[in-house]
């Protein structure tokens, strides 16, 4: 079942060059702490900053990299390079695209819409979360 919670307004949080490649910053978006990450290939992702394992607002301070994940693709099982952040507290890896924990798919952090317009990063609404 999918429950949709949407805000309609984007918050401009910083310039893209304020986020170093393969790192994150924390932004205040509608009163919530949101971690905004920039990957090596200049993709930008936004996740709740709250680490559900450590129960603290820290995810933006984790190390960003890639992890190989085997997925069932159209052509059978294929390897995929997943961009991820490791929680600085106890190192659980989260998929930057989906917020899902790569070690334990039962746990995930909410993700946010985010885009770069003219070198400026804007965070939008929290995306629909899969209710479990």
């Amino acid at each position: 079942m999918t429950s949709l919670e949407r805000t309609s307004i984007e918050t401009v949080v910083c310039r893209l060059d304020q986020i170093r490649k393969e790192s994150g910053v924390t932004a205040l978006v509608a009163g919530e702490a949101v971690a905004v990450f920039r990957t090596y290939d200049d993709q930008v992702y936004a996740l709740s900053n709250f680490d559900p394992f450590g129960k603290a607002s820290v995810l933006s301070r984790g190390i960003v990299g890639t992890k190989t994940v085997v997925v069932d693709g159209v052509d059978g099982r294929v390897e995929e390079q997943v961009p991820f952040v490791a929680s600085p507290l106890l190192k659980q890896p989260f998929d930057l695209r989906t917020g899902i924990c790569l070690d334990n798919a039962e746990v995930s952090v909410p993700t946010y819409d985010v885009r770069v317009i003219d070198g400026v990063v804007a965070v939008g609404a929290q995306r629909g979360t899969i209710a479990t």
Binding site: E5, R6, T7, S8, I9, T11, V12, V13, C14, Q18, I19, R20, K21, E22, S23, V25, T26, A27, L28, A30, G31, E32, A33, V36, T39, Y40, S48, N49, F50, G54, K55, A56, S57, V58, R61, G62, I63, V64, G65, T66, K67, T68, Q81, P83, F84, A86, P88, L89, K91, P93
Partner: protein, 858 residues
């Protein structure tokens, strides 16, 4: 049960074998039916006599088998300083010197042996010693303080060990042997000659084939020299007799028990004496007329008697007299039929006079025309001992060219051999290959109900390798082979991004001169890295370049603690630890720490590392906190880094009445020298002002303990989950040499250790303490100067990371709560109060500040 139904067993002698007997009696349930009374003559409970010489390094406590002086089993009582002077086999009693008597139902004699002192005139002079007990060693050490030269009479195994000790105590040492060669019992003439050359190279004087005519004394009744037949008197201040041992069979002799022709209480295969209720074990016993001067046969006898008393049929049928030892740094081993006394035995000899290596194998043809190993002698290089000894008596057929077994590795040697399962791998504790394999097999239960995980665990659970240690390499090999065979390959890759170990990575980075992660992963890895390889690369770069860890793109490689130069706490705040070198701090600095804590509302605690931790700092407050600390003359303590943490110190000679050196001064010097040094794992040091060791230096990666003459340097200790004591690398060093060795040691570790491999594990991985000593002390790889230069570069380029950070706006930019609201504290951080200070509080979910800008309907 009425008390008189319990029987009484008396053990005379609380030495190595007596102790093992009691242990086995408790373990196997003999105390269910017997009360055991142990009467020992020495002032202390049983200790490891085999390791007696290490008393000089580790002290009596470490050697003790029963430091508390009582057994866990209340049915055993131990009486020390209780010499039995007589036994009465008819009345079944033994009597002490003070007249006190004990009745027994069964009597076990474990009185050991005494050093033999030949009737040379002058043998009763002052400063004439034997080498058997801790008291002997204490007296020798005392005498050596003022002595210049000394002699050991006897060039056998123990004599050389005593000579080694005397030499280490800084006394010019002579070894006097009547026989034409050293270790005449164990090795042949050619081996003896090789050994002699080695020992002489170390600065000892060897006199073989000479008779001591008399010992000269001075006016005070102390030794002044010894005179050999037909020679001048050799001036000396100390004499140690080590001319063999004699079983201590006097009380048995006087009680009328049968005594062997060459001494020792005669026992049969059950270890029973000529009296039904009297047993003898260990060095005082002579099974079948022969006494054994090694501990392993004594242990077997102890087990036999326990078994017999339990109604079993255990028997002692002779023992393996193999020996391996490291004498003055020279490996010597002899095993099996070393002198080729078996009929038709053949000898294969390899000798390299230049390298000082002599190896001999004794083999015999078997029924099928192949060869079997009977024994051998190894001098100078005994590395093959562990694998050769178990082959003796195993019935195993040797390869077609048996000489390959003793050729040096480069010349076709070093062949791997599959030993049969029955082969005894550990002779000290009688453990076979099958038992070692069983300990690691999936259905094993030895290790807390499960299988052993590695060789160290096998040693703990089976005792294999726990006594003399000479079988350790083979134990490890068997365990690794087993894992390899069962498909459990130990993958040494750093992570999925780098198929290499940290050491290989270090070399790659050093050789190519990389200074960016991007180049390294492009050239040698795949993907974009992770939380394992990025900090590892960061650490390697920091060790090689000693730049600021937050410079440029490197900031994103750092683990969270390094990334903010503070330790992340569970609620997302940080703790701040200023360096307090050696634990010494002025009142002014203490006041500043207190003021900072008050101003920023921080929790304060004295750490286990002798300094003060300030907890609960918000990330955005860190620069302001550092500014105040730096202004007051403090700097980063690197509590966050895989780097030098603290060099703990005791107060030492500055205040302590026992201190023999300035341990605080030395700790401060070392902490300042190695501060900021990034390493594979954290590094800790300690310096104690005397052997009382109040700084717990031996639980550190490098520990220094003051001696009268300088410093003893111990390496590779740690506390933590699996504590290990640091081991002596070199003794009595002056300041300069100490620092030289430490520089080399630390740099060698940094270059070759694996990621998160603390020094003790690294030591095991690279080949043990001997290997480290070769590289660090003997400079066998010729790397010494290079390692020292690398350390000098580190020392010269040190700067304080906090100071550099607060001076650099670009680095400071990261220290904000929110990029878009730098002044707003993160509402997720909450505290509660406890004992008058703050404590971290966790929240179940994210805490919202409430929307500050209008948002659409939820």
């Amino acid at each position: 049960m009425a008390p008189h139904l319990r029987k009484q067993l008396v053990v005379v002698g609380h030495g190595m074998v007596g102790h093992r007997f009691v242990q086995a009696a408790i373990e196997r349930g003999l105390t269910e039916t017997y009360d055991i009374i142990v009467l020992g003559e020495e002032p202390r409970p049983a200790y490891d006599r085999v390791a007696l010489t290490s008393f000089f390094e580790v002290g009596a406590e470490a050697l003790s088998y029963l430091p508390e002086g009582v057994y866990d089993d209340p049915r055993v009582s131990l009486h020390l300083e209780s010499e039995v002077v007589a036994m009465d086999a008819t009345a079944q009693t033994v009597t002490l010197a003070n007249g006190k008597a004990f009745a027994y139902d069964e009597l076990v004699l474990a009185t050991g042996a005494a050093p033999f002192v030949p009737p040379v005139p002058g043998k009763d002079l002052g400063n004439v010693f034997v080498y058997r007990t801790i008291e002997d060693l204490e007296a020798i050490r005392e005498a050596s303080r003022t002595a210049k030269a000394g002699a050991v009479i006897g060039g056998g195994l123990l004599g050389l060990e005593a000579a080694n000790a005397l030499h280490q105590l800084g006394v010019k040492t002579h070894v006097v042997e009547m026989a034409p060669r050293l270790m005449a019992v164990q090795i042949d003439e050619a081996g003896g000659a090789t050994l002699k050359r080695h020992v002489e190279d170390l600065g000892l004087s060897i006199h073989t084939g000479v008779m001591t005519e008399l010992i000269d004394g001075d006016a005070d009744g102390n030794v002044s020299g010894i005179k050999f037949k037909d020679e001048d008197t050799l001036p000396l201040d100390i004499v140690i007799f080590s001319a063999g041992i004699r079983p201590r069979d006097l009380i048995a002799r006087e009680a009328g028990l049968d005594i062997a022709e060459r001494g020792g209480v005669l026992v049969n295969e059950d270890c029973r004496t000529s009296d039904e209720h009297v047993w003898a074990i260990g060095e005082c016993a002579a099974p079948g007329g022969r006494m054994y001067g090694l501990v392993a046969p004594g242990y077997s006898m102890a087990e036999v008697v326990v078994d017999q008393l339990l109604g079993g049929e255990g028997q002692f049928l002779g023992a393996d007299m193999s020996t391996k030892l490291k004498l003055l740094g020279v490996d010597v081993a002899s095993f099996g039929d070393a002198f080729a006394t078996t009929e038709d035995a053949l000898e294969l000899v390899f000798a390299d006079a230049v390298a000082g290596i002599y190896k001999k194998l004794v083999v015999a043809e078997n029924a099928t025309g192949g060869y079997e190993l009977l024994g051998g002698i190894l001098v100078g290089d005994a590395s093959a001992y562990g694998s050769l000894r178990p082959m003796v008596g195993s019935g195993m057929e040797l390869p077609a060219n048996p000489e390959e077994l003793i050729l040096p590795a480069g010349r076709g040697g070093g062949v791997e051999l599959g030993l049969p399962d029955e082969a005894q791998i550990c002779s000290c504790n009688n453990v076979t290959k099958a038992e070692i394999k069983a300990a690691v097999s999936d259905d094993a239960t030895l290790n807390d109900g499960g299988p052993c995980s590695d060789a160290g665990c096998v040693t703990k659970c089976t005792k294999a390798g726990s006594t003399c240690g000479s079988c350790k390499v083979v134990v490890k090999k068997i365990v690794e082979d087993h894992f390899a065979a069962s498909g459990k390959v130990v993958d040494k890759s750093l992570c999925e991004h780098f198929a290499m170990t940290r050491q290989e990575l270090f070399d790659v980075v050093a050789v190519h001169g990389y200074n960016r992660f991007d180049d390294i992963i492009e050239g040698h890895g795949k993907g974009r890295g992770c939380d394992i390889c990025k900090p590892a690369v960061a650490s390697v770069l920091a060790s090689l370049l000693n730049h600021h860890v937050l410079d440029g793109a490197n900031a994103t490689l750092q683990d969270t603690n390094d990334a903010y130069l503070a330790n992340l706490q569970k609620n997302g705040t940080y703790s701040v630890v200023p360096r307090i070198p050696g634990g010494e701090i002025t009142p002014d600095k203490l006041i500043v720490i207190g003021q900072v804590a008050k101003e920023f509302g921080l929790y304060t605690k004295i750490t286990g590392g002798q300094r003060i931790d300030l907890f609960g700092a918000r990330m955005e407050d860190l620069p302001a906190i550092w500014k105040q600390l730096v202004d007051a003359g403090m700097e980063s303590g690197h509590a966050y880094g895989k780097s030098l943490r603290t060099v703990k110190s005791c107060v030492g000679s500055t205040w302590c009445r026992y201190g023999v050196q300035d341990s605080v001064g030395m700790a401060i010097e070392l902490e300042l020298r190695y501060r900021g040094l990034r390493s594979p794992h954290k590094l800790k040091g300690g310096v104690s002002g005397c052997a009382r060791e109040c700084a717990e230096a031996r639980s550190k990666d490098f520990g220094i303990i003051a001696t009268e003459k300088g410093w003893n340097l111990y390496v590779c200790g740690n506390g933590g989950a699996i504590p290990s004591h640091a081991q002596l690398l070199a003794g009595d060093l002056d300041n300069e040499t100490l620092i030289k060795y430490l520089d080399r040691f630390l740099m060698y570790y940094i270059r070759t250790a694996d990621r998160l491999q603390r020094t003790s594990y690294w030591m095991d991985a690279i080949g043990g303490l001997d290997r480290i000593r070769e590289v660090v002390v003997d400079d066998a790889l010729g790397l010494g100067a290079e390692l020292e230069a690398a350390m000098d570069t580190h020392v010269d380029s040190y700067f304080d990371e906090w100071k550099a950070t607060i001076e650099d706006p670009e680095k400071l930019a990261r220290f904000v709560s929110f990029v878009n609201a730098p002044g707003t504290p993160d509402p997720n951080i909450t505290f509660r109060e406890e004992r008058g200070q703050i404590q971290a509080e966790l929240n179940d979910g994210p805490v919202s500040l409430g929307s500050t800008i209008p948002v659409g309907a939820p």
